[in-house]
């Protein structure tokens, strides 16, 4: 572990922003002003951030329906994200995408994706670009435990091995796909072992521990960048909210959720594990403050922002019939 103070604060800042963003969205959604479906990332922050802190702006990631955390970790603008989620013209996709399709190619974010299993094959495409163009770029595909059962995911893994592509498949195992337990839906208990059988190194890591994720991802990203081919990382963490906002979560009890929040909070665990000689609690508290203020500002601006003009309905597509 060689992270200096600057890097540690930077990583915590991202986790903190994700948390503030999602907690606030949970409240905003209750007002009824957010259109459509949203899926919150709270509880899994250490995965997105632990992985993306190893990436450059020119590296690419593919994401999921639960994409806010990946966006923030990869450097998407908070204001642009919030405005997008509210369906406003200022949004990163000018209101055309929404929560499930936030993208920002300028920071290498290939888009949240509303199709479970959609990202892996797109991500190997980014890896192919890096390999072909010789940019030494790396691609990361984020997929859930549920998405790990899609054939598209397996096909991308095999292709990546065959073509020795610079990619890391991150499987975020949060125990559920919607309301169905991973222990039911994944026939074999071990998702990483399934990936390993495709012929690549595969590791399991505690996804609530930023430091563990960071180290595991560092190795995988370095291997990919050096031309060593793909890796899979199965990271175990929990989502603190329901599958989507509105989920009554009958598949687990409020006590169970409370216990998870108490014992498996990646932000708390970061505080516990971080080197106190480098980083003080006060500094982290300040970051949390700053995150909440930033998100507060983002909500205020997003709410005040204009909806897209109607005639934008017909732009951004090659031709209107």
């Amino acid at each position: 572990m060689t992270l200096n103070k600057h890097a540690l604060l930077g990583a915590y800042r991202k986790m903190s922003r994700i948390r503030a963003f999602e907690d606030r969205l949970h409240e905003e959604n209750a007002t009824g002003d957010i259109p459509g479906f949203i899926h919150l990332y709270s509880g899994q922050e250490a995965i997105a951030v632990g992985v993306c802190e190893n990436l450059r702006d020119t590296d690419h990631i593919g994401s999921t329906h639960r994409g806010h955390g990946h966006c923030i970790a990869k450097g998407c603008d908070i204001h642009g994200m919030m405005a997008e989620i509210f369906g406003k013209e200022d949004g990163l996709c000018h209101g055309k995408g929404g929560s499930m399709h936030i993208a920002d190619l300028s920071v290498g974010m290939l888009g949240a994706n509303a199709i479970v299993g959609g990202a892996p094959s797109l991500a190997i495409g980014a890896a192919l670009s890096s390999k072909t163009l010789g940019t030494h770029g790396v691609a990361v595909s984020f997929t859930g435990d549920g998405g790990s059962n899609q054939g598209t995911t397996f096909e991308a893994m095999n292709m990546a091995v065959v073509l020795k592509l610079p990619i890391v498949f991150v499987i975020e195992n949060n125990g559920y796909g919607e309301a169905t337990g991973t222990d039911y839906a994944v026939g074999a208990p071990d998702i990483a072992a399934r990936a390993a059988a495709f012929g690549m190194p595969a590791a399991k890591v505690d996804g609530t521990d930023f430091f563990a994720v960071y180290e595991t991802a560092r190795e995988a990203v370095e291997r990919a960048r050096a031309g060593g081919g793909p890796t899979t990382i199965e990271a175990r963490a929990n989502r603190f909210y329901g599958h989507f906002e509105g989920d009554a979560q009958l598949y687990r009890t409020p006590e169970q959720v409370a216990e998870l929040r108490r014992t498996q909070d990646p932000l708390v665990i970061f505080r516990d594990k971080v080197d106190r000689r480098k980083v003080s609690a006060k500094e982290l508290d300040e970051i949390d403050e700053e995150s909440r203020a930033l998100v507060d500002d983002a909500v205020t601006r997003a709410r005040a922002a204009a909806y897209p003009p109607i005639d934008h309905l017909l732009t951004d597509v090659y031709v209107s019939y």
Binding site: A114, L250, Y251, Y307, P308
Partner: protein, 343 residues
């Protein structure tokens, strides 16, 4: 036969439950039809709690009555769901598979269009594939580009598939029972904005034959052909225009395939003017199919060009203001009708 007020959601559920009671070979296959398998809530199994009952509650209650062997929760694995249903249908079951959102057909279409749909013909008439594929269609929920589509035109273009898209609770129940009893694969499209709409629906099982249009409004000046959620928009337009003295006939084909050609042509022959409202596509959609039907078989009865009201040729935008502009509505239908009668 007693009736009661039921939502579209309840009508679908009742059809499934009654068919499962009648026929032990009917099984449900899909993701989170119950919800809560494995997982960690200790009360689930003992109290027969469903964690989901379908993502919008349509199958709620089925698992409690029929258990895990007939209400089969699966991993997220649509090509195995549809393929398994097709194989099961070939070998003695009557599976009802759920795709959640029909938009997901892209990950599993082969099993439907190259396999299930073709068996009967390709095997020289020696196979039957009695399966139903249920799923949600439609815009209006701000569910964005990958969860708002209505690809029934794609399914209808496949020989061997039957395609149903009911516009109200009564039709939903009768057509779904028909679908389950049918010996061909049937794609059953449920418009997500209709689930909470209600109608008087018989409590007993009943069937509505495929290929029989329903005239939801009778009129003499203009025919409006509309399907699924568009029927409500068409009815609203018709009611509004009636007040202006324009008499509109609304024809709801109910099944995209087979199509009640006569039911449409008869109305057009009488009115001589037709507006086709369709949510499926701005190109090569169901609306174009109906227009072609009329232009090839009833051209002489047309007193004005056909008016086609579809979304623009763009993906479904997320922002509610854009989505509203994207979706055909009563106002656009009225404009089209007025254009025809003043032409």
């Amino acid at each position: 036969m007693t009736t009661s007020k039921k939502t579209y959601r309840e009508a679908v559920k009742e059809a499934l439950a009654q068919e499962m009671r009648r026929d032990a070979t009917v099984v449900q296959i899909g993701e989170d039809l119950r919800g809560g398998h494995a997982g960690t809530n200790p009360e689930l199994e003992s109290k027969k709690i469903e964690a989901f009952g379908g993502v919008l509650g349509v199958t709620k209650g089925l698992w409690g009555e029929f258990g895990s062997d007939r209400v089969i929760d699966t991993p997220i694995t649509e090509s195995a769901i549809v393929g398994m249903a097709a194989g099961a249908a070939l070998t003695g079951l009557r599976p009802v598979a759920e795709l959640m959102f029909m938009d997901f057909f892209g990950v599993c279409y082969d099993a439907l269009y190259n396999q299930a749909a073709k068996f009967r013909y390709m095997f020289g008439g020696k196979a039957r594939t009695p399966m139903v594929l249920r799923g949600m269609i439609g815009a209006g929920f701000s569910a964005a580009a990958q969860h708002s589509q209505s690809p029934y035109h794609v399914f209808a273009s496949v020989p061997g598939l039957k395609v149903v898209a009911p516009s109200n609770a009564y039709d939903a129940k009768g057509l779904l029972i028909q679908a389950v009893r049918d010996d061909d694969p049937v794609v059953f499209c449920e418009h997500k904005t209709l689930y909470d709409t209600a109608a008087e629906v018989p409590d007993e099982p009943y069937t509505i034959p495929f290929g029989v249009a329903n005239y939801t409004r009778q009129g003499t000046d203009v025919t409006v052909v509309a399907l699924s959620a568009m029927v409500n928009a068409a009815n609203d337009a018709a009611d509004k225009l009636a007040a202006e003295g324009i008499s509109v006939e609304v024809v709801d084909p109910r099944t995209v395939s087979p199509l009640d050609e006569e039911g449409i042509l008869e109305s057009v022959a009488a009115t001589g003017r037709v507006v086709i409202v369709d949510e499926s596509a701005a190109r090569c959609g169901f609306g174009h199919d109906v227009a072609a039907l009329i232009a090839t078989k009833a051209l002489d009865s047309l007193r004005a060009p056909i008016e086609l009201v579809t979304p623009p040729h763009t993906p479904v935008p997320f922002s509610p203001v854009l989505e509203k502009a994207w979706l055909p509505d009563a106002a656009r239908i009225e404009t089209a009708v007025r254009k025809l009668v003043t032409a």
